[in-house]
Amino acid sequence: MTVKFYGHPSQGGGELIEEVEVTPETTVKGVVDLFSSKHQTSLAGSSQSSTPRNLEQTHVVMVNGISVEKIKLSTSTVQEGDKITIFLPISGG
């Protein structure tokens, strides 16, 4: 099955980056890890950061527009067609 990974528009993009093939048992963390290993720079929030790292420690992961609590990243599985986004949250408003 596939899930859809979007660049978060707050980073300056917002379009569909890739459809990712996963098994039904794949967790949200598993998808993020898979994806972030390939798209580190675009997810990090600035072009200065190209070093691979654990993005879920600093970023918010959303599935279908709803934030996933850090603790649930490893336990929640994804569903066919889920829309996953990830962004660097910043205070300011």
């Binding site: 917002g14 949250p89 910043i90 205070s91």
Partner: protein, 613 residues
């Protein structure tokens, strides 16, 4: 070499008699109340008679630039204006960045206290310690940009001169009139109308005084290290690039972006008014004094609003003239923002009031005659921009909205108060607390009424780590209190909250910098204790005015009407539960009154006696 002495100098100006005197604030008072917001609260509490009419000569208007401003410390441009609000009747503290605060300190004064009322329009010119009253009759009716330009020109044209002025909205007593300096606004609560009521059109400052730093060498080392560290912070780089408007998309996605006067939490046309669209219109970056982040964007509108350019709009203004009015024309938002600055009006209250009127019109609570020929419906950007002008000129329906939504609803009658999205008379901003429960505590307990700036809870609104469930009420009293105190200490020292909240400087570093400035070692805990003292003193001020815990409430829509869409769908605010938790955390009683032991701990017994007798 002899160590520098710490001095904090205030200029007390009697506008009625046109005289002034210089006063020195004791260092112990600065350590206790920090400066800016905190010191302003102390002066106002001590000097203002309870029940003073905010627009009478007896009200005081206090400008104070906190002790970090102009020192060379990064992220410290925010001066504070303190008075009693004509919009809410509460204590009012309103801050602005830009360059005025630093230049005020370089002029020879850390703060200004205005009393009385001049018998003719005047402006005050302070240059390297010298003070002069000048006639301002020729400046009446001028937009704030023209007013600043005229004053600068007649003072010789030096670009270092900084000016803070009121606009036509202040002169016409719009209750949320602001004070403008450059493009920056002392926006909320009506400080501009208090200034205008004193016949004080403007203040111009210039000078080259060195501001006091007792341990200058250690201070320089520390601030250099903080600047160096900040250069590598990814969040600051991203914040500097896009500024506050970036968060529109995130807040909308999280379902707490108030839409069409809080009828929903998701604006379906958000992409038309996002920061990405703004970036297509940015002319250049802008900054405040001594800030390496430079989050500002000078933005130029396109047709049919191509004559307007503005610094910003910021997140709140994008919302006020965007989702709040159901408007997806970004150029109209830029125009409305600029017009507000030119008239000298708060953008949040202006946009919120127009959204309120749009809903009243659509529900038949305002007649065609009331609308004065305008088709005032959600999404009509031409009507929205015209309404900004009418509020600034107090024309037709604008005259009513210039009173703020609470007073306007009282006059409109019927069920209109239900649609007035305000707390204590201040229009609430761009986060729907049905989807962010601790923001309900910020809105309901903020000492100046419904605002986000006294405690913007980034963990809920933007998802800043560590994670909390925005829809839960559990433990939210402590979360809110932490942000309330953290903001109070930064406001008082003159620090912009955003760089520290994004990893630019932590409170421990700030405590070290402040220690160097005053020459006394203070810890992070000392700053938080001072902040708690300030928050409680502001509470006491309002209690003395008869504004009790009963007014710690929210518009009924947020308490009764479930959120219709987005991740917070089905939620209302469980305010009673949240408030009782918060009061307990604050050591206040069930009516929201600080307990005697708390006041003793904070050294506020005398203030407590005065407020609670």
């Amino acid at each position: 070499m002899k160590a520098e002495e710490y001095k904090n100098i205030i200029l007390r100006v009697d506008l009625t008699r046109k005289n002034f005197e210089r006063e020195e604030i004791d260092r112990s008072k600065i350590i206790k109340f920090l400066g800016g917001r905190g010191l302003g609260a102390k002066i106002l509490f001590d000097e203002l008679e309870p029940s003073t009419d905010p627009l009478s000569p007896a009200n005081k208007l206090i400008f104070h630039a906190g002790p970090m401003i102009g020192t060379g410390a990064p992220f410290c441009p925010k001066f504070c204006v303190e008075t009693k609000s004509p919009l809410t009747g509460t204590i009012l503290m309103s801050l602005a960045g830009g360059f005025f605060g630093a230049r005020l300190r370089y002029s020879g004064y850390d703060g200004l206290i205005f009393e009385g009322r001049a018998d003719e329009p005047v402006y005050l010119w302070i240059n390297d310690g010298q003070v002069e009253f000048r006639n301002a009759s020729h400046l009446l009716g001028k937009f704030t940009d023209a007013c600043q330009e005229m004053i600068r020109k007649e003072l010789g044209g030096d670009k270092q001169i900084q000016i803070a002025c009121t606009g036509p909205a202040g002169e016409k007593a719009v209750r949320f009139a602001s004070i403008i300096s450059g493009y920056r606004a002392v926006g909320r609560g009506g400080a501009g109308v208090v200034m205008a009521s004193k016949n004080l059109k403007a203040i111009a400052v210039s000078g080259t005084r060195q501001v006091p730093i007792v341990q200058r060498g250690a201070f320089r080392e520390l601030q250099t290290a903080i600047r160096k560290k900040a250069r590598g912070v990814e969040k600051l780089a991203l914040f500097g690039k896009f500024g506050t408007p970036r968060n529109q998309l995130i807040v909308n996605e999280r379902g707490l972006f108030p839409t069409r006067n809080y009828q929903g939490g998701v604006f379906e046309e958000i992409n038309e008014v996002s920061h990405i669209k703004q970036q297509e219109r940015v002319i250049r970056k802008t900054t405040c004094h001594d800030c390496p982040v430079a989050c500002g964007n000078l933005t130029k509108a396109r047709a049919p609003y191509k004559d307007f350019e503005t610094e910003g709009p910021e997140y709140e203004t994008f919302w006020a003239f965007g989702a709040q009015c159901g408007n997806s024309n970004i150029d109209a938002i830029i125009a409305a923002d600029r017009l507000c600055d030119q008239f000298g009006m708060d953008t949040i209250s202006t946009g919120n009031s127009i959204g309120f009127a749009m809903e009243c019109a659509e529900r038949g609570l305002l007649s065609k005659a009331d609308l004065g020929g305008l088709d005032l419906k959600f999404g009509n950007h031409q009507a929205m921009v015209e309404m900004v002008r009418r509020i600034g000129n107090r024309q037709g329906l604008g005259d009513l909205l210039a009173e703020g939504t609470r007073r306007a609803a009282e006059k409109i009658g019927r069920s209109s108060i239900y649609f007035a999205m305000q707390v204590k008379g201040m229009e609430i901003p761009a986060y729907d607390p049905r989807g962010a429960k601790s923001m309900a505590l910020t809105y309901s307990t903020s000492p100046r009424g419904g605002c986000h700036e006294r405690g913007l809870i980034s963990r809920e609104t933007f998802g800043v780590p560590p994670y909390i469930d925005p829809l839960s009420t559990e433990g939210k009293g402590a979360v809110a209190q932490f942000y309330h105190h953290r903001t109070a200490l930064m406001d008082s020292l003159g620090v912009c909250i955003f760089p520290p909240n994004n990893g630019g400087m932590d409170i421990k570093e700030l405590a070290s910098l402040f220690s160097c400035v005053v020459g006394v070692t203070l810890t992070e805990q000392d700053l938080f204790k001072a902040a708690e003292r300030i928050w409680n003193l502001e509470r006491l001020f309002n209690l003395r005015e008869g504004i009790t815990g009963k007014e710690d409430t929210l518009p009924p829509r947020l308490l009764k009407e479930p959120m219709p869409d987005g991740p917070a769908k089905g939620h209302v605010v469980e305010l009673d539960v949240l408030l009782q938790d918060y009061y307990q955390v604050c050591n206040w009683d069930k009516q929201g009154v600080p307990k005697p032991e708390k006041l003793k701990e904070l050294g506020l017994e005398e203030e407590g006696k005065a407020a609670l007798r």
